[in-house]
Symmetry: C2
DNA sequence: ACCCAAGTGGAACGGTCTACCCACTTTGTC
DNA sequence: GACAAAGTGGGTAGACCGTTCCACTTGGGT
């Protein structure tokens, strides 16, 4: 939309085709910078910050990625690969219940390791095709994981795929609130949630201890300061 | 800090003392407007929006509440009263476990009903004395609620007050993600969490059904659109 | 080595937000 | 009802953000 002529902006842009060598290098620097900033501060970072961090002009960033959505799509394509791969790994586990719990823990760990990815999993960007395609793929896999775990008798019958979405939203909230000051808090949440999903006899990983109260308090203050200014 | 002389800006300002009649009226209109906007859109609303909504000039808002923190303090003082009151009500319940579950549900319902309050409970504003005092008061009450429920045998021994904080952060995430398109999603989260907190034999309220998938999807898209700009 | 197209960064612009100052209006007291 | 003080809103300045334009630089085919 910004350039003179580019018939299919989103799909053509992804693999970085036919770019001059230096342009390709700049594109990579932008992606690396965005990856870094998104991971640390979530998807809200200003485009100007990304350009500054990448050491390129704002115009270059705009030219390469016309919108924030496009940038997100390119940055998180590989994370979504890992997300989809995690479902395959869970299905490969001979123990269906362990596959289920391992998948939940893996995905939530990814969220904790990357605030931007936490946001991506809790949102849906219809125009970000690379991301959404992997999400749909992972969703199918997750349905199979659920069915297997329920057949094994360890996952409650009333668990639905929506519960994963809710967990991802909840975990995104915890990660956003505690990243920096009490970064392991999410483990406690996930441990509790697994307890809720399990049938009475199911084996559970040990529940992570709660974070230290002072760390949690400092995290809350940090978050408050962030929302104030 | 902005006015000529006001020795104790935060404490004196709260009850709205010695203001001229029209000034008092404007102060109330500001509070009402802020309450409305915070409830719908969280604590991030711009001060200019609040002033516009209240029908007063920006300067008037600044003069009455020198910072966003002060405004938050004044707006949520009564909500924090209700929060503290909920602990008393829980302690008054003859059934300790029902008192515990009722408290959790009440507080999370308050979060769902007011996005700003959801944020307030997941953050800590050291300078907002009215809010923080009530938080500390409620915290003491909650410790008693926990102890009673654990003695009754229905609340797990490894539940700690930190778990409430984590739940509030998680619920804030769910509320922020689903408000508008799937506003009852939080009930499902809370139901699952109560399952996790309960010992095997404890009676539990029925688990709320998950929201419709399309509603959840629309909520995720809405949220994405919001974070994109 | 040359040269054009592809690519670049800085500057300019319109938008929003906060903070502050100042000329005007209202209140309530005498 | 007049007047000082208290209160008001609009206007301005400064900091960002995202977008677009434009004169300059650079790559790489010939």
């Amino acid at each position: 939309m910004s350039c003179s002529a580019d018939p299919d902006p989103l799909d053509d842009r992804q693999p970085g085709p036919g770019l001059r060598a230096d342009a390709e290098r700049n594109r990579d620097r932008i992606l690396a910078a965005a990856r870094r900033l998104f991971a640390g501060q979530g998807l809200g970072v200003s485009m100007a910050c990304v350009a500054r961090e990448a050491g390129v002009g704002k115009a270059t960033l705009s030219r390469r990625f016309a919108s924030r959505e496009e940038l997100i799509n390119a940055v998180f394509a590989d994370r979504m690969d890992a997300y989809a791969a995690a479902t395959a790994q869970a299905l490969a586990d001979p123990d269906p219940w362990r596959g289920f719990t391992g998948f939940i823990e893996t995905v939530c760990a990814m969220q904790a390791a990357d605030r931007g990815f936490a946001d991506v999993l809790a949102r849906s960007f219809p125009a970000a095709k690379a991301v959404e395609a992997r999400r749909a793929e992972a969703y199918e896999g997750f349905l199979a994981i659920i069915a297997r775990a329920q057949e094994s008798g360890h996952l409650r019958a009333d668990f639905t795929a929506d519960d994963l979405v809710i967990l991802l939203m909840a975990n995104a909230g915890v990660v956003a609130a505690t990243a920096g000051a009490a970064p392991d808090t999410w483990r406690r949440l996930v441990g509790q949630m697994l307890r809720a999903y399990a049938t009475p006899g199911a084996p559970l990983p040990p529940l992570a201890p709660p974070p230290s109260q002072t760390a949690l308090y400092r995290a809350m203050v940090r978050l408050a300061r962030h929302t104030l200014g």
